[in-house]
């Protein structure tokens, strides 16, 4: 940044909230000289520093790009509105934290798409960076805007703003993509020629190379390549060997408080339990594990390089990790002396081993979090949540007996086929949890019971068996929420529910098509940003944006799609096939469960790709 702007920036930082968010210079961040790098990548997280720095994906990819001798990666987060406004006023362009280089001077500007309600922040960041928002308006001098992350599996809502998507596990494709851009740069290739190179890489989707046609009723008719050499369907990337995959040996250590300020060990990726509402469970298949040895080695170097006091184990279902107890014991043995605590954030209730519970709480007594998701066995069968009431009650009783007194229960409302009985079932489970606490003799249980039940609104997601269903209308949701409030007047239980209008918009965008991009643009233009933050969420502005664009949100959120309809995300091959999802959808409506595929392959689609699914290949003795 020029000296004059930098002086302005320094002054401005004294006036904004939480200036430490914009300081940079943290331990273990990149100190590579910007001008010497052959390929520069601005990693943009479309939310605040505190949220973004808590995210594991950014740490992995930051490490991978900077590990390349020719590559440089720097971080950028969305400036909080006070800062964003001040930057516009003072003419300060969006800059990277490490070298304070304007984002538009990078070769690649990459966004991670973690939740739909961060999309207006992407436009906000592009605008602050003075990069043309629409991909078609960018010229040879502008950076290439790329994106990845779970929401990229439906690339269409942001298709007009993104030059190239990376779909699937990012470790390998990120390097391939950066290398291709570096090579293109070296050969002096045009933007278009570079994008053509990128489109040839597995997992890369270049929206401009596909034309979308619509039917008269507004549904998608087709999405087809408009030039040779572009795949009709883009296959997602799969990292098959998690042990061989790159993982950072050091994390940046923030100065300021962030949400998860600790070492995170990803012990496993993927989950094969097959919950039918869960997008992560579908798109991160198959299950891949990191070995005990690799994890202990990573823990060692991360502990040394960060000085963190806490290690948390991360995966979609940590309880399924085969040597969980062994891992916890080994970590505790190593780090008790150094006063490092171990935590397990997401545990499934059906295989919490009492023993590992006791071991974690020896180090740190955090609350127990369980997600039964639905209130009755019938509905849990519909969503294939393989958990019974007995499982749940046994788990909480074990926890109470081991000295825990804080339990958080997560549920969803609005799941397909839900009835009033299911809502009452939620209250019932809460009652039984409280009763389980009092069933433990007074002298053996910890004091201060705290049960929190959170009920969120179900949002149907692409690449799940429920991708065809309609979301409950706002009216229906509100009616249910009112009844829930009645049912949940329980002693010892705190009841939380979620903003339904936010879930409604999330439903519109998550299954949106390319035309939704204009709605996002209009909403941003009219002042929407940080939609995920209560104080900034402007529902009316969003509704007005739909209206201005001539689109009906109900069409996206409420409509039940026929199975034969072309879906906007059909251009992506996520691994799981449509046949599998249809099978699961039909079984759901019949209330039939599907077993975990570690007990036998369910032919979800991953078996089509050679070497992709270790469980499938091992079972076949390949």
């Amino acid at each position: 940044m020029e000296a004059l702007l930098e002086a302005k920036l320094e002054k401005l930082l004294e006036q904004v909230q939480k200036p430490a968010r914009y300081a940079g210079g943290e331990m273990n961040t990149s100190v590579k000289p910007f001008d010497e790098a052959e390929l520069t990548f601005a990693f943009c997280f479309p939310d605040t520093y505190d949220i973004g720095m808590s995210h594991l994906g950014i740490k992995i990819l930051y490490h991978i790009i900077n590990k390349q001798p020719w590559g440089l990666c720097e971080r950028v987060f969305t400036p909080w509105p006070d800062m964003g406004d001040a930057m516009r006023r003072e003419g300060i362009p969006l800059f990277s934290l490490e070298s304070r280089t304007p984002v538009r001077d990078f070769d690649l500007v990459g966004f991670t798409l973690q939740y739909e309600m961060s999309y207006t922040n992407i436009l906000e960041m592009l605008d602050l960076a003075r990069i043309p928002l629409y991909a078609r308006d960018r010229g040879e001098k502008d950076p290439l805007v790329v994106a990845g992350g779970p929401c990229a599996y439906n690339p269409e809502p942001l298709a007009n703003f993104v030059d190239a998507y990376m779909i699937g596990d990012g470790e390998d494709v990120m390097v391939e993509l950066c290398a291709a851009v570096r090579e293109g740069k070296r050969q002096g290739k045009s933007r278009l020629a570079i994008l053509e190179d990128l489109a040839a890489i597995r997992g890369v989707y270049v929206p401009a190379f596909y034309d979308v046609c619509y039917n008269a009723d507004g549904t998608v008719k087709s999405c087809t390549p408009n030039r040779p050499g572009v795949p009709a369907k883009v296959q997602r990337c799969v990292v098959t060997d998690l042990n061989g995959a790159e993982y950072p040996e050091s994390f940046p250590v923030p100065y300021t408080d962030i949400v998860f300020d600790r070492i995170v060990l990803e012990i496993m990726r993927g989950c094969t339990r097959g919950c039918r509402f869960c997008q992560a469970g579908m798109i991160y298949r198959p299950v891949r594990e990191r070995s005990l040895d690799r994890l202990l080695a990573l823990a060692d170097s991360l502990e040394k390089t960060t000085g963190y006091e806490e290690i948390s184990l991360s995966s979609l279902s940590s309880g399924d990790y085969p040597c969980l107890a062994e891992l916890i014991r080994a970590l505790m043995d190593r780090y008790q002396q150094k006063r490092v605590s171990i935590s397990l954030p997401s545990m499934r209730i059906d295989n919490i081993v009492k023993q590992s519970l006791e071991e974690t709480q020896k180090v740190k007594k955090s609350g127990l979090t369980l997600a039964p998701e639905a209130g009755t066995q019938r509905l849990r069968d519909v969503i294939n949540k393989g958990v019974t009431e007995e499982d749940l009650i046994r788990a909480v009783t074990d926890a109470f007996e081991s000295g825990w007194s804080t339990v958080k229960l997560y549920f969803m409302s609005g799941l397909p086929t839900e009835t009033d009985e299911d809502l009452q079932g939620i209250a019932d489970l809460c009652k039984k949890t409280v009763a389980a606490y009092f069933s433990v003799p007074k002298d053996r249980r910890a004091r201060g019971l705290k049960v929190t039940a959170s009920v969120s609104v179900f949002v149907p997601k692409p690449f799940t068996p429920f991708q065809w269903v309609g979301q409950d209308t706002l009216e229906v949701i509100r009616g249910k929420q009112e009844r829930m409030r009645e049912y949940m007047r329980l002693k010892g239980v705190t009841y939380n529910w979620h903003e339904s209008t936010l879930s409604f918009l999330e439903a519109c965008i998550s299954r949106g098509d390319r035309r939704i991009g204009d709605v996002i643009y209009t909403a941003w233009k009219d002042g929407c940003r940080f939609d995920g933050w209560n104080e900034h969420f402007r529902y009316e502005t969003w509704l007005a944006a739909f209206e201005k664009c001539g689109l009906d949100p109900a069409f996206y959120a409420y409509r039940v799609r026929p199975l034969e309809e072309v879906l906007p995300w059909d251009v992506i091959d996520a691994g799981v096939t449509k046949e599998f999802l249809i099978r699961e959808y039909e079984k759901a409506l019949k209330g039939t469960t599907t077993k975990d595929c570690r007990k036998g392959c369910n032919a979800c689609g991953l078996q089509r790709w050679k070497g992709a699914c270790p469980a499938y290949e091992n079972a076949r003795g390949v």
Partner: protein, 220 residues
């Protein structure tokens, strides 16, 4: 044994608060693997004290902290090890070992020397420094925890000068009597009838006392 370490808090970190800096230093000490001491009790934490918190926005050129260690540690070794574990904008400049019975730097602290760089230079205010110092009293309003309080800061000013576009001052910094550089500048500019400009403050050095003279705190 305790280590007295002189360190620099660089310009990039001037808006990092006291508690955040403390935590960063504790994590660096953990990374360094030096034989640091922990507090007793249920939630043990690393024993570490700073001589005086630095105002948000100021650069600290020679800040001082005290780190109790187990056994004996060579100060040069301590300095190298800790520097290797620190981010680029924090640096240990000097280090000295003292007995546990040595008074804490917080207790020995008397004053600090500062510089301030006003935006647009100090030429306008420079001629007023002499007359400003010639005043018998300089009333100022100090914000304290219990509200606002009128004080005379004149006796707290030990030196005030101007050189190369910068204003230098040595001001009281101890429990009973503290004058912040920002407060002094505010009074000086008001005296000169000038609007207080934007300025960058640096705390250049912390001072203790030897007889009647100020000496660098780390030498006391």
């Amino acid at each position: 044994m305790k280590m007295l370490a002189v360190f620099e808090k660089g310009p990039r970190l001037r808006l990092i608060g006291h508690l955040d800096l403390m935590r960063a230093m504790q994590r660096a000490l953990r990374r360094s693997d030096l034989p640091i001491r922990y507090s007793q009790g249920f939630n043990p934490h690393i024993l570490l004290t700073f001589a005086a918190p630095l105002n948000l926005g100021a650069v600290g050129e020679r800040e001082i902290m005290e780190v109790p260690v187990e056994g004996t540690v060579d100060p040069a070794f301590f300095l190298d090890r800790l520097n290797a574990a620190l981010p680029p904008d924090l640096k240990i400049l000097a280090c000295r070992a003292v007995e546990d019975t040595h008074k804490s730097p917080m207790a020995l602290l008397r004053a600090a020397r500062y510089s301030a760089q006003p935006e647009g230079g100090a030429d306008d205010v420079a001629p007023f420094i002499g007359p400003f110092l010639a005043q018998k009293t300089v009333p100022a309003v100090k914000k304290t925890k219990s509200g606002e309080k009128e004080v005379d800061i004149r006796p707290m000013i030990h030196e005030l000068s101007c050189r190369d576009g910068r204003i230098f001052a040595t001001l009281d910094l101890r429990e009973e009597s503290t004058c912040k550089m920002e407060l002094l500048l505010d009074r000086l500019y008001a005296f000169a009838g000038l609007e207080t400009p934007h300025f960058l403050v640096r705390r250049l050095m912390l001072l203790g006392e030897d007889g009647n003279a100020f000496v660098p705190l780390e030498d006391v």
